[in-house]
């Protein structure tokens, strides 16, 4: 079983996260935690000083965190983006596609199931923020820049 997963080259940020309110109110923290109901766009003016954004999933069926992740990556955030909370193995692929690069689920994941999930889909239909060429781009290589 695996309690923490990272897909980053660098080491995971160890700094404890603060709330969005605390983060935007002071300047020395570099790690923040977003709750499902919070607006990721509040962080956009501060992306330069962030090294970790933790997005909490209070329940696996609450999909707001997927939008939060993509919004941050679309705005150019390059630091660690960590999914925490009710994160299940069957969701890792979509979360990776939305820009999450580390995972700290409330319940440890089965390594073999993670491995199977991550290698199962060789292709994806949509362009997202994970740098993968969507199927339509592969079909029309002359348009690979999309």
């Amino acid at each position: 079983m695996v309690e923490f997963l990272s897909f980053r080259e660098d080491d995971a940020t160890q700094e404890p996260t603060v709330t969005v309110e605390a983060f935007t109110g002071q300047s020395n923290s570099t790690a923040v935690r977003i709750e499902a109901s919070e607006d990721a766009r509040e962080l956009l003016p501060h992306l330069g000083r962030l090294s970790l954004v933790e997005v909490n999933f209070p329940a696996f069926g609450d999909g707001r965190g997927y939008s939060a992740a993509r919004i941050l990556r679309e705005a150019g955030y390059g630091g660690e983006l960590r999914a925490v909370g009710d994160v299940l193995v069957d969701q890792i692929v979509a979360m990776r596609r939305c820009g999450f690069d580390s995972f700290h689920p409330a319940k440890a994941l089965d390594d073999a199931a993670v491995e199977r999930a991550l290698t199962r889909y060789a292709n994806a239909y949509q362009k997202s923020v994970d740098g993968r060429a969507p199927i339509w781009a592969k079909r029309h290589p002359e348009n690979l820049d999309g």
């Binding site: 069926g61 707001r64 199927i135 781009a137 029309h140």
Partner: protein, 543 residues
């Protein structure tokens, strides 16, 4: 028709293996039912009243003969010899074993079919006009757009855990045969200045808070539709209500924000989205479009139909629609025999329709949201032969859009959510109005029955609608009048206190009597209702 390439096939094959893995984890106990439920629902597998139910996607209601044949084979091999066509143009099997589900999906994948996203809080199967590509009144075939959106919405990484389910319909003619404005998003393709684009409607739906979708943008071009829909969905995913599942559909968000504010937020998001390179190049839509190019219709065929057999002539007048190629016709096959179950077809009937499509309809079949089937490309010269074969199989009922062409959800006979049985009531109404002349006299009269407030039977959109409720453990039926899912979309109004099963049949008869007495030349039931209002009907029913 669209055909998978190796990419499409790889996605569907991977899904089969993923689901096989999930089922195996469930059967081994590694997954609890609470954990498994959302996973199986995302693949159309429900636990229903009597067994597991599998809902198979029929994208935009189009099937090849080979696909149809496979649906019949699965019904015979894994189910109890039949399937049920739904109001979302899909097919449901009622008696599926969990252990068989992965094998069934593998069989479906072998004919380029799947059950992906036929349930769950995600973007569902895209529905469309059953006459797409053959209707004389369309500006373009809407199915290439629907296929583009099928691919865009399949396994969408951001929109798989929406607040609630999300249904999209695409049409391309003024006559709306797909209840487009009763969808979460409805697209109507239009031509402006020589360019094809979409009018976008958002926030429609039925269920317990029915709403007709307002227009939110009057033109989105084909090279920006994906980024525009991403914007619509992102606003919904972020701000749609998650505290109450009965208020979680996009219609509530649009209603609570107000149309203008929702539009403003979508436009703001769209301004951002359109810079991200999310749209496939126009070459991709062109690639898809090539699959839907009109088939090679034969020319110099006879346009005459020999009407000497009166039963055949009656069927032609009722079930056959005009095709854009003059010597061809569109054949509607009724799945509403008077004593049957609306939308059900046996494995043998499914096989028959597949073979008719092979032989007479250029290999194509459509499923309608009214739970009927369509053979879209039939030579007029072949109509008589088709009718004879349909008649032998009990599929030649001539009741399209008449009072016995009833939409009914499965109701309490099959559905765990239902409060009352829909099918026995549909059968009683059909028997009361069985006389063909009487049906013809009443003309177009769309009757729709739901067994609970979730409205799978579209009762809000029926000229006459019926809603089954549970009154202290006894089935009770409310009557609604004046709904429409067509281009003139409107929501039905409840007449008053509910009825027993027999009582509601009597009430419908009184309603039709008022219509016959009050109508003016050429008025349909709905027109008369709209002109004279609820009062006279109410007086007749309760007076």
């Amino acid at each position: 028709m669209y055909r998978y390439d190796s990419y499409d096939q790889s996605m569907v094959d991977a899904r089969v293996e993923e689901f096989r893995d999930q089922v195996q984890r469930r059967l081994s106990g590694a997954l609890t039912e609470d954990q498994f439920k959302p996973l199986r629902l995302m693949n159309g597998l429900y636990l229903q009243l009597h067994a597991y139910m599998l809902r198979v996607a029929i994208p935009y209601g189009t099937l090849s003969a080979r696909q149809m044949r496979k649906l019949g084979e699965i019904a015979a091999k894994y189910d109890r010899g039949y399937g049920h066509f739904t109001t979302r143009q899909n097919l449901q099997y009622n008696w599926i074993k969990l252990a068989d589900a992965p094998d069934i999906l593998a069989e479906l994948a072998s004919v380029e079919m799947h059950a992906i996203q036929t349930s769950g809080n995600c973007i569902r199967n895209i529905s469309s006009d059953q006459y797409a590509g053959v209707s004389p009144d369309e500006v373009t075939d809407p199915r290439p757009w629907a296929e583009l959106l099928r691919q865009w919405s399949s396994f969408h990484p951001e929109f798989t855990y929406l607040p609630r389910k999300f249904k999209i319909a695409v049409i391309a003619s003024d006559e709306d045969r797909a209840a487009m404005r009763l969808h979460d998003i409805g697209l109507k393709l239009v031509e402006r200045d020589g360019r094809i684009g979409a009018e976008v409607y958002a926030g429609g739906g039925m269920g317990r808070t029915p709403m007709v979708a307002p227009l939110i943008r009057d033109f989105v071009s084909e090279d920006e539709i994906v980024s525009y829909l991403e914007a619509c969905l992102r606003v919904y995913n972020r701000y749609g209500r998650r505290d109450n599942k009965y208020k979680a559909r996009i219609k509530i968000l649009v209603h609570e924000l107000g149309v203008e504010e929702y539009k403003r937020q979508v436009e703001e998001e769209f301004a951002h989205m359109r810079t991200l390179g999310l749209n496939p190049p126009v070459e991709e839509l062109d690639r898809i479009r090539a699959f839907f190019a009109p088939p090679a219709y034969e020319s110099d065929l006879s346009e005459d139909i020999d009407r000497s057999d009166p039963a055949f002539a009656l069927w032609v007048d009722r079930q056959v629609a005009a095709h854009k190629a003059p010597s061809y016709a569109i054949v509607n096959i009724s799945l509403k025999p008077l004593t049957g179950i609306p939308g059900d077809a046996s494995a043998e009937q499914i096989e028959l329709v597949a073979s008719l499509a092979d032989q007479y309809s250029l290999d194509e079949i459509r499923v309608t949201h009214a739970q009927n089937l369509v053979l879209p490309h039939v030579k007029k010269a072949d109509l008589y032969a088709i009718w004879q074969k349909l008649d032998e199989a009990g599929l030649a009922e001539a009741n399209l859009d008449l009072i016995t062409d009833i939409i009914a959800c499965p109701g309490l006979d099959y559905c765990a959510l239902a409060n009352a049985r829909s099918i026995p009531l549909a059968q009683k109404i059909a028997q009361r109005f069985a006389n063909a002349e009487r049906q013809a006299e009443l003309g177009e009269l769309k009757l729709k029955i739901s067994g609970c407030i979730n409205a799978c039977g579209h009762h809000h959109a029926g000229h006459i609608g019926i809603l089954g409720v549970d009154r202290k453990g006894v089935e009770n039926f409310q009557l609604l009048l004046g709904g429409s899912g067509a281009g003139d979309a409107s929501l039905g109004q409840i007449t008053g206190p509910g009825f027993s099963e027999d009582g509601v049949v009597d009430a419908i008869e009184k309603v039709t009597d008022i219509y016959l007495a009050e109508r003016t030349q050429g008025e349909r039931f709905l027109d008369t209702y709209r002109r004279i209002g609820m009062k006279p009907f109410k007086e007749a029913i309760y007076g």
